[in-house]
Amino acid sequence: MDFSGFLMMRDEISLVALILILLLYDLFAPAKARKVFQPLACLLFVVQIVITLLPVSSLEAFGGMYQTTPAASLAKTLMSAGTLLVFLFSKKWIEEKHEIAQGEFYFLTLCTLLGMYFMVSAGHFLMFFIGIELASIPLSCLVSFSKKDGLSAEAGAKFILNAAFASGISLFGISLLYGGTGTLYFSDMPVALQGTPLQIAGMILFATGLFFKMSLIPYHSWTADVYQGAPTQVSAYLSVVSKTAAAVALFTIFIKVFGGMAASWRPVLYIIIILSITIANLFAIKQKNIKRFLAYSSISQAGYIVLGVVAASPQGLTGILYYMMVYMFANLAAFGVASLVERQCGNAEIASYNGLYKTNPWLSVLMMFAMFSLAGIPPFAGFFSKFFIFASAVQQGYYILVLIALLNTIISLFYYLLIVKAMFINPNESPLPRFRSDSYSRIAMVLCFFGIVLSGIVSFFYNKTNDMATESMEMCGLSRPKAVEETLDANPVPGQTLNTQGSTAMNATASWPSVLE
């Protein structure tokens, strides 16, 4: 038997091994040894991350059910790193509130992570569906992890209902696609797609599952309530790791499978982006609760990420991956600070941040950096990620869309500044007293801090991501899918070309077309 197929799956296999070790350890280790469960889990997880960092080449296994590319591997590394940060932030919380259930927390989280790995690496719609289900169902348990807390239970119910609906619709879409094309393999489908109404309907319905995961408007209604009710650490996980998986999967599937139907899905994404960014921004302004606030902020951030999908170029993929990396540091820092403050003062109101700088300067500075990075202010990394993802969209001629997105960054700057204002400017007679956070949270915060400050200015991160993304597109022969070429030859519309020739610019003589025209 040829084991090379298994070796390619080392990311997944190492994760499964990790899950099993932790599960068995939690079950059989003596009470004394259970004390070191969390440090051990984090340590092993670091090993797993190192394994995902090993270079891979693009390959398919199991007859095309599973496929991997350098970009997919990078996405997995990012998701693992995000999860590790979440674990570091959760250590104290687990210890205090849920010591008995510590094994469950790690087991469930890592299971969803495994599901997300499969979402990113699937080569077949059923494989993908298994991944998305594996990533959803344990998540609902995590959302309602604080069983005694009414809000958490409510959030769990909301999440599972919404997720079930989204999966159902998605599955319906898959069945339509199967009916329309006769195959579920990613590699076989493009040839069979002619863009008939049935296929378009199947595609859009299928995408619902992903839009739901990314909580794009109009699939967002669960977001704020779930983020608010769920334990803060779980919200952080939802907002970063879950979105990364969905964004990368969205890109892969839309380019690889539906690349030929770009003319049909681009207008859809165009509208979804505008809606997500604008509406979420307007909602975020009025929020009084930091978790709801971050929920709406994450919806609008997801909108920016989809710009990379619309661009549909190697630069777009780079943009998505890089944006996720930068967003991970900033958003996890924000959620981390939020969880610490929440534990300290017992509520998640933004008002509790008033005057925080006087008593807890480090936390405030980290929070401020996170806000600036999310708002896209240099020299923080968020500026670079925004610039590059906008550049990738402008490269394809989406001027108006980018203009709308840019104007929205101003609205978002307003509400991010409100947090900064609360911490630095608002007077408060009795600010939250000075407190020391546990060492695990501090490690995580230091990592986030350096991530926010360095991952932009140090160009290594972007350039490396770009190399990997370009390589993956080329290796999969995705740089110019056959079906796309045919559509283009038949119907050469400027601005709707899938321009993927490395750094080739858009046609300079083109005016500013938009897909809506």
Binding site: Q315, L406, T409, I410, N463
Partner: protein, 496 residues
């Protein structure tokens, strides 16, 4: 290391030093040392630049260096200066230096204050040395964001409102700018983000027409272009003294500098075609700003509106697109930068003593604090364009250059703009007459004292700079001429 990078490295080192500092005294010493080093470096740069030019080096940009940064988008860290940039760096160094001394007794949180101040300076210097669109834009935004906290925490009056308004308006400008930059990059054929290289290729007219207004307005917001100037009075009035100085003195120049270096230089055809719209807007800025200053009662508001008027004149002159007027524009930038910094410094010092900025509550200050009084008169005279001071040279060039256009439109606009000189005299002399020579309004003011050393130092430095431009403008004009030559040429070629 490249000579120019020093201007970014010093503020960054200052930031690090301030971060480690423990006491107010340490923070002061570090800031003062750093600012002095910057000033020395700027003077050295000026001398070296003059020497190079004297030696016959006619390259457009001197001391260039570049390093790849993000090769996927052809982004590099490329620096270089021409005569105008050198002058702007000198101006910034002077104002940062004087600003540090003006905020000697800042309270509360001196360390944080100086740190933000340094970050702001990093952005300003980085902007003026950059030749790469992306790097330039990045530094531009780095210079903007510290304003929020500088005004919000250390400001006065309705500071929260002013800080938010200023930040959002300027960032909205920079949002337009970001799209403009991307448009320029892709429109030019996308082989480089370096301004000098983009200038070699031409951007299609259809794209220019779309991106020129974006870029010009983007920078224009910071240059107080009507109707996007409204952040300026509120922002300046609420900001602490040194921040007003730096903001009106240097930051608003970033707008003007960007307008001609990026918008007009890279898109000359659209600049020629659309100049009339912006000429009208800037003409309104000039006159409207001056009239508004006449009716204000708060010293800072008077000066803020006066800044709108003067900065409007900068953009107005740039849009006239001939060498004389544009030379005048650059001189007006320098002149206004120094003069307005002097004004804000003096207003800060007066306010620190009288605790009011309302001109109705002050009088007879000339006798009480003669040093500040005389300095105020000098600043005022420079502002209304008295020969021998910097304002005269600048305005003379601007209006002579503008009137060189033979068509009615430009001449009428020039005539309208010229009236601002008279209006300026009205509001300047009104204030001087009232608060310096008028009857004493408040007996408590009689006990006030005159300036102390750390207040006199910046005032003297600024007055010397103003007078030296006014008395000996020749060398500056020469540098500016040389630097403007390629820009004017591309504009003239495009007009044909």
């Amino acid at each position: 290391m490249n000579l120019l990078s020093i201007f970014v490295v010093i503020p960054v080192l200052m930031l690090a030093g301030l971060f480690l500092s423990r006491t107010r005294q340490q923070a002061r010493v570090i800031s003062a040392t750093g600012a002095s080093l910057l000033l020395v470096a700027a003077v050295v740069l000026g001398v070296l630049f003059a020497a190079e030019r004297h030696a016959g080096n006619t390259a457009e940009m001197l001391f260039t260096a570049s390093a790849q940064w993000f090769p996927a988008w052809n982004i590099g860290y490329s620096v270089g200066v021409d005569g105008i940039s050198v002058l702007m760096i000198l101006l910034s160094a002077i104002i940062v230096f004087t600003g540090i001394f003006t905020s000697w007794n800042i309270d509360p949180l001196p360390k944080e204050y100086f740190m933000w101040f340094c970050l702001l300076s990093t952005g300003v210097f980085g902007f003026f040395i950059s030749l790469d669109l992306f790097t330039m834009f990045m530094f531009y935004e780095v210079a903007l964001i510290p304003m929020y906290l500088l005004i919000g925490v250390w400001g006065s009056g309705k500071k929260e409102y002013a800080a938010m308004k200023l930040t959002l308006m300027l960032m909205a400008g920079s949002a337009l700018l970001m799209l403009g930059i991307l448009g320029i990059y892709f429109g030019s054929g996308a082989t480089s983000m370096n301004i000098m290289e983009i200038a070699q290729s031409s951007i299609p007219m259809a794209l220019q027409k779309f991106f020129f207004p974006l870029t010009f307005i983007g920078f224009g917001v910071l240059g107080a272009l009507f109707p996007f100037h409204t952040w300026s009075p509120d922002g300046h009035a609420s900001a602490p003294t040194a921040v007003s100085m730096l903001h009106a003195g240097v930051l608003m120049k970033l707008g003007g500098y960007g307008c001609f270096r990026v918008a007009m230089f890279l898109m000359p055809e659209a600049a020629n075609e659309l100049a009339w719209i912006f000429l009208i807007l800037t003409g309104i800025s000039v006159v409207y700003g001056a009239f508004s200053a006449c009716v204000q009662k708060d010293l800072k508001y008077i000066n803020a509106y006066s800044s709108v008027s003067h900065c409007g004149l900068v953009l107005f002159a740039l849009l006239m697109m001939n060498t004389t007027a544009m030379t005048g524009a650059i001189m007006q930038m320098l002149s206004h930068g120094l003069m307005t910094a002097l004004f804000f410094a003096l207003i800060g010092m007066i306010y620190g003593r009288t605790h009011t900025r309302d001109i109705r509550e002050m009088g007879g200050l000339m006798k009480i604090m003669p040093f500040l009084g005389v300095a105020y008169v000098i600043a005022g005279l420079a502002s209304l364009g008295l020969p021998g001071l910097s304002g005269f040279v600048a305005e003379m060039n601007v209006f002579v250059g503008s009137f060189q256009h033979s068509d009615t439109f430009h001449r009428v606009l020039t005539l309208i703009a010229v009236t601002s000189i008279v209006i300026t005299a009205v509001y300047i002399l009104r204030v001087i007459g009232k608060i310096l020579y008028g009857p004493v309004q408040n007996q408590a003011h009689l006990k006030l004292t005159d300036a102390v050393w750390f207040e006199r130092l910046p005032v003297v430095v600024l007055i010397i700079a103003i007078a030296s431009i006014g008395l000996y403008p020749g060398w500056i004009a020469e540098w500016i001429h040389q630097a403007l030559a390629p820009i004017v040429e591309s504009l003239t070629v495009a007009a044909l």
